[in-house]
């Protein structure tokens, strides 16, 4: 994971400024739990993850649940002191790392700890990320019994040489079976794919998307590989041992994915995410993109409450030491002003299907909206209906569109 952003130092008890309570009733509340353990570290991965499970008191896997519980208590105190009325939680997401590195009982236990302290919305979405080779039918059933509703499975690719380059240890053939266990347990399932791995041909990518579709998941995310500096893959690319992903190749693969997914009945709702229907969209991710309130637990986790972004100490030891000392694990925060919040609204909304209402945009941007339609970046029929919906070409140039659009704010 790259270094945390620059920000101010939050108070030791994690207190939030009073303005976060404003308008809270109109915002949903989501929770994120970061599980920082992995069996092996993949060469491309820049997430905050550790292969050593004995990280010391409070931070090692066996103490993890208790430390998260302490953080849950702390968050309740902070929200209470900020006069935030208790709200039912609409989504929970366990990410990592590999949450399924925890025993099913532990993972279920953390969810139980949450339910002891928070009311969950009756239709709450509760997702965990999972590695195919950490799951078993019993494990999946235990998740369902504990109240999980959804599994996001790190399939990445169906092509062995691609998986090897990504350092993924699972066997591609195993995916359909694992998906079936999840479905049998009554859970929703997303397959997560990566395209643009060095050495991956267009045919390889075609194979992977088809293989994913053959499993009949209800959701697919496809992320282009980003070579991050500081990862093993980043070093290999810098040394010329692996080629840097080519932007045109990535564009080809994105277009191919859209074509295959659309013909299988999937609709995009965010540049990297497709769902079989509206109710299978990932509500948790949508909460990020709609600037809902969300609290992140675990080392390095980020939170956003009422226009304040804050983030925890990155290392599990630093995170747990703070909590054991009765302090907030948050080490940095940003209190966003109105302009910044507006920029974030635009930059997040622009990536989403109907992500912005055109009449919520600055009036001076009307010419730009027309230009985007004329140049094929915005869907004109959607625009006529008052929605910002980028075309396929527009999705590929979303950052460009955001730069232009935010010119009217800053």
């Amino acid at each position: 994971m790259p270094a945390q952003p620059d920000g101010e130092t939050p108070p030791a008890d994690g207190s939030l400024p009073p303005q976060v309570a404003g308008g809270a009733a109109d915002r949903s509340l989501s929770l994120y739990v970061h599980v920082p353990y992995c069996r092996t570290r993949c060469g491309y991965c820049d997430f905050n993850t550790y292969t050593v499970t004995e990280l010391g008191p409070g931070a090692s896997r066996s103490d993890y649940r208790a430390t998260v519980a302490a953080e849950l208590d702390l968050s309740l105190g902070v929200m209470g002191r900020a006069q935030l009325e208790p709200r039912a939680v609409s989504t929970i997401f366990f990410g990592g790392g590999t949450p399924t590195m925890l025993d099913a009982q532990e993972l279920a236990g953390v969810l139980g700890d949450i339910r002891e302290r928070f009311e969950l919305d009756s239709a709450a979405e509760v997702t965990t990320e999972a590695n195919p080779d950490t799951l078993s039918p019993a494990y999946v059933r235990a998740l369902a019994d504990a109240g999980f509703t959804r599994v996001s499975l790190g399939m990445q690719s169906a092509v062995p040489h691609v998986l090897r380059t990504l350092d993924r240890t699972h066997e591609a053939e195993r995916i359909p079976e694992v998906v079936q266990w999840i479905k049998d347990a009554g859970l929703d399932v997303s397959l997560d794919l990566i395209y643009g791995t060095p050495g991956e041909s267009l045919t390889d990518w075609h194979t992977s998307v088809e293989a994913a579709l053959a499993c009949r998941p209800d959701h697919i995310s496809a992320y282009s590989l980003i070579v991050e500096p500081g990862t093993r893959m980043g070093v290999q690319v810098r040394r010329g041992e692996l080629p840097m992903p080519d932007e045109d190749d990535l564009a080809d693969k994105y277009e191919l994915a859209e074509a295959l997914l659309a013909s299988a009945g999937f609709g995009w709702y965010e540049v990297s995410n497709w769902a079989i229907d509206e109710k299978h969209r990932c509500e948790h991710n949508l909460a990020y993109w709609r600037n809902a309130d969300w609290w992140g637990y675990g080392p390095g986790a980020h939170s956003h409450i009422g226009g304040v972004r804050f983030w925890n100490a990155k290392h599990p030891r630093a995170w747990s030491d703070r909590l054991r000392a009765g302090r907030s694990p948050a080490v940095g925060r940003e209190v966003l002003d109105d302009t910044t919040r507006e920029i974030e609204r635009l930059l997040l909304g622009a990536r989403i299907h109907r992500g912005l209402l055109l009449d919520s945009l600055p009036e001076s941007s009307a010419g730009l909206i027309r230009e985007f339609q004329d140049s094929g970046l915005l869907d004109p029929a959607e625009a006529d209906a008052g929605f910002w919906t980028p075309t396929l070409q527009g999705r590929l140039l979303a950052d460009h569109m955001v730069r232009r659009l935010t010119d009217f704010v800053i």
């Binding site: 990020y288 980020h302 935010t406 800053i410």
Partner: protein, 620 residues
Amino acid sequence: MAPQVSDSAASRIAVAATPPELIRNFCIIAHIDHGKSTLADRMLQVTGVVQPRDMRAQYLDRMDIERERGITIKSQAVRMPWAVGDTPYALNMIDTPGHVDFTYEVSRSLAACEGALLLVDAAQGIEAQTLANLYLALENDLAIIPVLNKIDLPAAQPEKYAEELANLIGTDPDDCLRVSGKTGEGVEAVLDRLIAEVPAPEGDPEAPARAMIFDSVYDTYRGVVTYVRVVDGQLSPRDKVTMMSTQTSHELLEIGVSSPEPAPSKGLGVGEVGYLITGVKDVRQSRVGDTVTTTRNGATEALGGYRDPKPMVFSGLFPIDGSDFPVLRDALDKLKLNDAALVYEPETSVALGFGFRCGYLGLLHLEIVRERLEREFNLDLISTAPSVVYQVTMEDGTEHEVTNPSEFPDGKVREVREPMVRATVLTPSDFVGTVMELCQSKRGQMLGMDYLSEDRVELRYRLPLAEIVFDFFDQLKSRTKGYASLDYDNDGEQTANLVRVDILLHGDPVDAFSSIVHREKAYSYGVMMVGKLKELIPRQQFEVPIQAAIGSRIIARETVRAIRKDVLSKCYGGDISRKRKLLEKQKEGKKRMKMVGSVEVPQEAFIAALSTDAPTSDKK
């Protein structure tokens, strides 16, 4: 104890009262790095004018840039006492600039002397610039004393290079002095030899005063300090003086000698070297080569040899941050005070905004000015490719002087004339073939070739200056593994088949990239430039053709394909702050983009396109 001048003898060489026969004026001709400053410092020490504890390495090179580059830009004169037997002498050491761009300044320094030390590194032998300055000294009838320096180096080959020097000046190899500026060995012998061999100055003490300006330096506190060599008569503190080229008169606020710190004196007599301060604030009012006389009973005829400094190389200077334009203007105004050769006028470029078209004596001068602007005034600058001055005659007889390629006239051209130089290249004989090839590819005309010694050759060529300012020097160095050296001097002009090649981005010409090249090279130049720009211009939302054209005829084309993907696929909760900051950074970056028509071109692309082949002069 060294033969320093005793207190009793010192009165015989008092400033303003020293008989010419006790004066010796000399300079040191040497290549950069051959140890001139070290030897000069050593002389200051041996003669006792600088105490060892005050010794700063290379006392005479004052500006930082000079010290870092190991070159002398501005000369100074130092008066040193030295005794031979019982007779005290005043030695004036006149420092000379060491580079081709300052040939005229060198010639004036030489004209102020009767003798020169020809100082050559005993491990490297003579270099082209040294040779050129030696020829200048011989033309001025100076007594030449050959000196091999750095004899302490293990790689020194004094016998070999003594032979070479002896051949050049027609003397016996045994007459070459051998010194080490570093250890001080042989330095006293040099001083004795100067007194024995350099003629005493001659002049008429009764005639109206005439003194030649050989240097003029702007000092923040004192205004312009003018260094002169008195030829006839006497200058006294109460005199009012006249600069003969401009006929302007000034009060003398101070007159004195440097030893090496300035010390006011009762005046300067025949043959003496010293400084004048008149309160003028601009070196243009006190020009190198001009004659100073007294306003009352002054001379009517100036000393010969004065020349107006004439810029030979032009380039545009633009601030990278457009709001720095006023800073650049003030900075140039300040530099001008100390640089009579620098000329500039405002220029507007479609691509680069507001800046100045600047004229320089040559490439080193250009680099020094640019570096001083960046360093002393904290400016970030883009400089356009250097250009020479073309004279263009149209079919209808109108004449244009073109210093900026984008101003090269369209329409029916009858004739274009370009400035020429006479170039001397010294190279080890192994590289003669490749150097000749290079000179020919640069439209050179061979004038002659001589073996200085068995393995060193002097090649003389007539070349267009435009070819030299392009990338000649870099190529010469790379083809000869750095061994060849180059000197050149102006040599009139020639007519040539020259055309203007424009570079178009998406159909719009980019003025900063226009260039005047020989018709036969237009195609390869065009291909090279569009190829380079293709790598430098980021992909845009639309396809961008890059074309090279002569008039309306396209001679080369490349295409920057439209960008297809500009989106980061990942945007989890923890990425949002980072993503927003990236957006802010990209917006900052966009401010540094220049719009050429509808094409966004990063500043870096301009800098890279204009600088990769930009010449680098001898920075060694």
